[in-house]
């Protein structure tokens, strides 16, 4: 192999590509900026909605509040931004009509939520059945419901304590058993779990995206621009020209994947982390988005593997196209074929077994997920490397067979890869 010539052609392809707006947008800008931008927009939107919701004054009506639960009003006052209208319990026989009236006012947004206490005959004083009415389709009503639930829960707990005390029970004795929940996963582990679900999925999509335009541009695009014949008169073997183009396509895919993964980690840390901390009522604040150092070589390796594999497959398909448009229609099914299993298999319960490690692309996603979680399964890693390497070699072998056929190399073959294969497999003499 004449590596000096391959290097010259490769650099020329890269230089040319980096001056093309579509390549820059699809291969660099989208992978780099899409997720930070998307998360920033999401972060800002959620904060805006949250702030707006929190500033609402909730209009609440409470009917039939027992004397034993007057504390509820104090709690609501402490909650702030709750305007309470207290009314007597509906007279006997009017409960249904009263409730219907409340429902109507809720739907008309004249009221945000209502509490209706109905005293029960049995039980200690203050025992009551409570109905909390709200409109789930309204943010304002949902907020009011949340505020009422928090105050009601605290009031109920206090009242139960008081009743228990009257019966001579201390503290939590009446509760029989106490539930103490403890999340054993550290914040870093939870962050890695979330990143493991998201990063591999978008990683594959972005590598496919990164390869798509260069694969078509360097084959069908050359024919469309009439530069293919110019290239084929260069004093070098065709294999060197194809090798340079292939390296260029694989590089663009790899770079798109690596940039995307880096951008996603930064986005998780800068946008999603603070967002979860702010919204999570404690739980979310436990997320920490740290990528284990040992996952970085795996990330790079998988980017190279996928770039090389998807790039080769896309180039084979695009080699049959004579125009960019034809190239797009020939390559897009492969793009979808690559993404489909990745989306379908993005199930956290899916175990990365050796048989799954033999399926190209899918194995890369699962390997990456494990690596982000800090686990390296060496057997699966080995199988993944072998299976992808075999697929790459298979694609390159097929490419060399395809480009050896003059009609394909010159762009005069009318048809796609499958028509070509059918023709190759047809017995000799069956052409006419």
């Amino acid at each position: 192999m004449d590596w000096t010539t391959i290097r010259l052609l490769y650099l020329s392809e890269l230089r040319s590509a980096l001056r093309e707006r579509s390549v820059l947008i699809n291969g660099i800008l989208i992978p780099l900026l899409m997720y930070p931008l998307m998360m920033w927009v999401m972060f800002s939107a959620i904060l805006f909605v949250t702030a707006r919701t929190e500033s609402f004054a909730s209009r609440v009506e409470i009917a039939g509040l027992p004397a034993e639960h007057r504390g509820l009003l104090e709690r609501l006052e402490e909650e702030g931004r709750v305007e309470v209208t207290e009314v007597d319990a509906p007279a006997a026989g009017t409960a249904a009509a009263y409730r219907a009236g409340i429902e109507e006012r809720l739907r008309a947004s004249e009221l945000d939520a209502a509490l209706i206490f109905e005293a029960t005959a049995d039980g200690p004083p203050g025992n009551a059945a409570v109905s909390l009415l709200s409109d789930g389709s309204s943010d304002q009503s949902q907020t009011a419901r949340g505020r009422l639930e928090r105050a009601l829960s605290a009031e109920r707990s206090d009242w139960l304590d008081r009743i228990a005390e009257q019966h001579g029970l201390e503290g939590g004795e009446w509760q029989v058993f106490d539930v103490e929940s403890d999340n054993l996963a550290t914040g870093v582990e939870m962050g890695q779990f979330l990143m493991g679900m998201m990063i591999p999925l978008f990683f594959v999509i972005m590598i496919a995206n990164g390869c798509l335009y260069p694969a078509i541009d360097s084959t069908a695009g050359e024919r469309e621009r009439n530069t293919w014949e110019t290239t084929s008169t260069l004093a070098t073997r065709r294999i060197h020209i194809v090798a340079a183009k292939y390296l260029y396509v694989a590089t663009m895919g790899t770079v798109a994947g690596a940039l995307n993964a880096a951008a996603m980690v930064v986005s998780f840390r800068s946008f999603l982390g603070p967002l979860l901390a702010r919204l999570g009522d404690g739980d979310g604040s436990g997320f920490a988005f740290e990528l284990p150092l040992r996952s970085l070589p795996v990330l790079l390796l998988t980017a190279v593997l996928l770039g090389a594999l998807i790039g080769a497959a896309m180039m084979i398909l695009a080699a049959f196209a004579r125009t960019f448009k034809e190239g797009q229609s020939m390559v897009t099914p492969l793009y979808l074929l690559v993404i489909f299993p990745v989306v379908v298999l993005n199930d956290p319960s899916l175990e990365f077994t050796p048989p799954l490690a033999a399926i190209p692309v899918v194995n890369v996603v699962l390997l990456l997920r494990q690596a982000i979680a800090g686990n390296l399964l060496w057997l699966q890693l080995g199988i993944t490397l072998l299976s992808n390497a075999a697929a790459i070699v298979g694609c390159l072998w097929l490419a060399s067979r395809v480009l050896r056929v003059e009609e394909v190399a010159t762009g005069s073959f009318e048809g796609n890869l499958f028509q070509f294969l059918r023709r190759q497999l047809r017995p000799a003499g069956g052409k006419a």
Binding site: L9, N226, T233
Partner: protein, 252 residues
């Protein structure tokens, strides 16, 4: 002393076309190009000129026969052939996103012009073809005339002894076409061997030292203009061309 730089013997090309079936585009073509001459392939559209030149330039493989450039066989030594050849045609466009200077450097380097002399050679080409002001501009931004000049410069930048021009003036205005013809004559004067195809009689008459008339994939005649005149008793090349082509029609 004149030696043959290009030798073509029994060269044929057939291919399968879905609409037309088996097509014999070139049939047992024979000719030689001598050192330092402009050899013209004159024929109507579809006569087989481009297919013949593509086989000589190794873009297409012959179905049978041989073609040699400086003794190198186009099938067995395609890289050597391309190294000694500059190929220019309407379908050899330039890379639109590279600049003229980058294009010339790439072609000089890949075509194995000595690396240490490449920079000087590229600057020489830029000056010779009047590209100075535009050398740093992307090809896609240049006018048709300037692109034409860059194309010729990239054809000759590696200083090949043999040049092929396949209908180079197609699509050019009169002034640019004359400019190009002048450039080709200058290259011949520098000692290059030039294989030139055209369907324009005046162009062939003005430029070519010897002319081969090609029709339906076969060479009908091959000689200098005076020789063709003597053989046909016709003065004008147009009449000579018609003489050979119609003679073929009447003989079937």
């Amino acid at each position: 002393m004149s030696t043959n730089q290009v030798e073509v013997h029994g060269l044929s090309k057939s291919f399968f076309d879905q609409a037309r079936g088996e097509v014999n585009a070139v049939r047992e073509v024979d000719f030689e190009c001598r050192s330092g001459e402009i050899f013209g392939l004159l024929g109507a559209n579809g006569a087989g000129k481009t297919t013949t030149l593509r086989m000589i330039s190794t873009v297409l493989q012959p179905s049978s026969g041989t073609a040699r450039v400086l003794g190198h066989d186009v099938v067995r030594e395609p890289v050597e052939v391309r190294r000694n050849l500059g190929f220019y045609s309407a379908s050899t466009a330039l890379y639109p996103r590279l600049t003229a200077r980058e294009t010339l450097t790439l072609f000089a380097r890949v075509n194995k012009y000595p690396a240490e002399r490449t920079r000087d050679r590229v600057e020489e080409m830029i000056e010779r073809f009047g590209l100075g002001e535009y050398a740093g501009a992307r090809i896609e931004k240049l006018s048709t005339g300037m692109k034409q000049k860059v194309s010729i410069a990239r054809t000759v930048v590696h200083d090949p002894p043999v040049l092929i021009f396949d209908e180079p003036t197609v699509g050019l205005d009169v002034l640019n076409a004359l400019d190009l013809q002048k450039g080709i004559q200058e290259l011949r004067d520098e000692g290059k061997t030039i294989l030139f195809s055209t369907h324009i009689m005046s162009e062939a008459e003005r430029l070519c030292d010897r002319i081969a008339i090609i029709d339906k994939g076969r060479i009908r005649a091959c000689d200098g203009l005076e020789g063709l005149r003597a053989a046909t008793s016709q003065h004008y090349l147009e009449d000579i061309f018609v003489h050979y082509v119609t003679a073929d029609d009447t003989t079937g």
